[in-house]
């Protein structure tokens, strides 16, 4: 059954042995970040539920809720040991149900407490610094809702890092390649604020959908409904004209102050590097709605791969790109975009004509995510599994001809978090076509692949039986 909210999901994780309760009192720094880092490094890492945070009453913290394939499988209501390939295919199948329109509800525990004045976010949440050199406490797993000022029906959900600077003032990273930046530009051209709602502690599939690089006009609530097998429930915000997840622990309502940028960061990012302090947009909080205590603050450890951010984003980014590419090119077999939010992407495809791999790379760049993210792009044949790096390396070293199969696109858009940017936000994109050349391209010298012996399959079963 789909989970109604985060608490439902945490109960399931606990019943499956995938949630650990930390009963001892923890210091906000350094304990929570350190423990979450460790949990993300463990194979089959559990969610961590901190019962007592020093200095606070009745506030809990949850980390690593998405931080292992077991937790991920349980989120999709599958057996916890479902293999990665099956998770990919299940997500692809469910996304075909898109769109599943959300259902508007009138009541929710999210409205248990409504604060419109004397706002102090530090009183409501046990905030903490995640990595040692971050510029302050951050909300790293918040789903931000905003809409297009020119098209009221075009609402967007996205996960954007949010620095907590003061009792009612936040910084937000609204990177140019993301949908919220389109909304912000339109508002700022008119010198108007952009209303936003920041939802914390969501049903895990809402968070999952919020991180997917859908087309600009596609609604993440409708994708969440497709993935969870039931329409998402949404409710109207109190002070901004936006619809928010009804199952959230808390929603912070406010507006991005127009035409203002102030120092934000540094912040340890998914690249494994700190992105330095930059001048970014600011949010003024107008209201907070939340569940009654005990409140659960869900946050995310983010840093050197692999950690929770990679589980949260990797597979859905791969599936989204796979679907978008398949619509352009039926030859696509599979996509692995799990390395640093898709900086490294491997596509498996049949080749329609000579040189096809280069054009497949170009098609990737034409997707929304392709605007700024994939920069180390490898194209492989249909006999290579893009999730099997041994096979990918084999394809590269036996099929890739640098003088014929390498495409560089210099001075192309890149993430401002990419440490190789020169300057920041501008990178060289690279396509490596590691497919076997087909006509009219010059063929490889040898095309005779060694097939496994016919009898090997039977021997495999016998040997497995003997090993038991």
């Amino acid at each position: 059954m789909p989970y109604n909210d985060l608490r439902d999901f945490l109960s399931k994780l606990e019943s499956e042995g995938q949630l650990l309760r930390v009963d001892e009192e923890v210091a906000p720094e350094p304990d929570i970040g350190a423990a979450a880092y460790a949990a993300g490094q463990l194979p089959n890492g559990p969610a961590l539920f901190f019962e007592k945070v020093k200095g606070y009453d009745a506030k809990k913290v949850v980390m690593n809720a998405h931080g292992s394939w077991r937790n991920y499988a349980l989120m999709l209501d599958l057996d916890k040991d479902t293999p990665l390939k099956e998770l990919f295919h299940e997500l692809a199948k469910r996304s075909d149900r898109f769109p599943v329109p959300p259902v508007v509800v009138k009541e929710s525990p999210l409205k248990g407490i409504i604060i419109r004045k004397d706002i102090n976010i530090f009183k409501e949440l046990p905030l903490f610094r995640i990595n040692e050199h971050d510029g302050g406490p951050y909300l790293a797993k918040a789903v931000v809702i905003s809409k297009d000022p020119d098209d009221e029906k075009n609402q967007n959900l996205g996960i954007y890092r949010i620095q907590v600077k003061d009792k009612d003032r936040l910084g937000i990273q609204a990177s140019a390649q993301h949908d919220i930046a389109i909304h912000l530009r339109k508002a700022e051209e008119r010198n108007r604020p952009l209303p936003v709602a920041i939802a914390l502690g969501n049903d895990p599939v809402i968070t999952l959908a919020g991180g997917m690089p859908l087309q600009y006009r596609e609604d993440e609530y409708e994708m969440a409904g497709a993935l969870r097998g039931k329409a998402a429930e949404i409710i109207r915000a109190e002070t901004v004209d936006l619809m928010v997840p009804a199952g959230a622990e808390m929603v912070i309502e406010g507006e991005i102050v127009p035409r203002k940028r102030t120092v934000e960061g540094p912040f340890g990012e998914y690249t494994g590097f700190y992105s330095p302090a930059m001048r970014q947009a600011e949010i003024k909080i107008k209201a907070i709605t939340r569940r009654k205590d005990p409140l659960i603050f869900e946050n995310l450890y983010i840093g050197k791969p692999w950690n929770e951010q990679d589980y949260l984003l990797g597979l859905t980014t791969s599936v989204t790109l796979y679907k978008q590419l398949k619509a352009m090119a039926p030859e696509v077999i599979s996509v692995n975009a799990m390395y640093c939010h898709g900086y490294g992407t491997i596509i498996s495809t049949r080749s329609r004509i000579g040189g096809y791999g280069k054009i497949m790379g170009a098609k990737l760049l034409a997707t929304p995510h392709g605007l700024a993210y994939p920069k180390f792009i490898v194209i492989v044949d249909e006999d290579i599994d893009p999730f099997n790096l041994n096979e990918v390396m084999w394809a590269l070293v036996t099929r890739f001809r640098p003088d014929r199969d390498l495409v560089l696109i210099p001075n192309a858009p890149g993430s401002t978090l990419d440490p190789t940017g020169s300057p920041r936000g501008l990178v060289t994109r690279m396509i490596m076509d590691a497919t076997k050349p087909v006509a009219p391209d010059i063929p490889l010298e040898s095309l005779s692949l060694i097939e496994p012996p016919e009898e090997a399959a039977e021997w495999m079963e016998r040997l497995k039986g003997l090993m038991k």
Partner: protein
């Protein structure tokens, strides 16, 4: 008080632990750095704060806006 990150004398205490006052939170009114009294010295002491992460007015003035602020639309 002095901000550990930018060295300006613009920091203030703005919150303390609601349950038991076991820690205090400070913020710098210039660079918005926030720190807690219970953090390690390399976070809260301006003489021990790592030089790579130090900020100055010069550095702040050189930062570019992200995203860029667009031109105003003519009426």
């Amino acid at each position: 008080m002095f901000c550990p990150r930018c060295d300006k004398d613009k920091a203030v205490k703005f919150f303390e632990a609601p349950k038991d006052k076991s820690w205090k939170l400070y913020r710098c009114r210039y660079c918005d750095f926030v720190w807690r009294s219970t953090e390690k010295d390399s976070v809260k002491n301006k003489d021990l704060y790592p030089s790579d992460f130090k900020l100055s007015e010069e550095k702040v003035n050189k930062m570019t806006d992200k995203p860029a602020i667009p031109p105003l639309r003519r009426a």
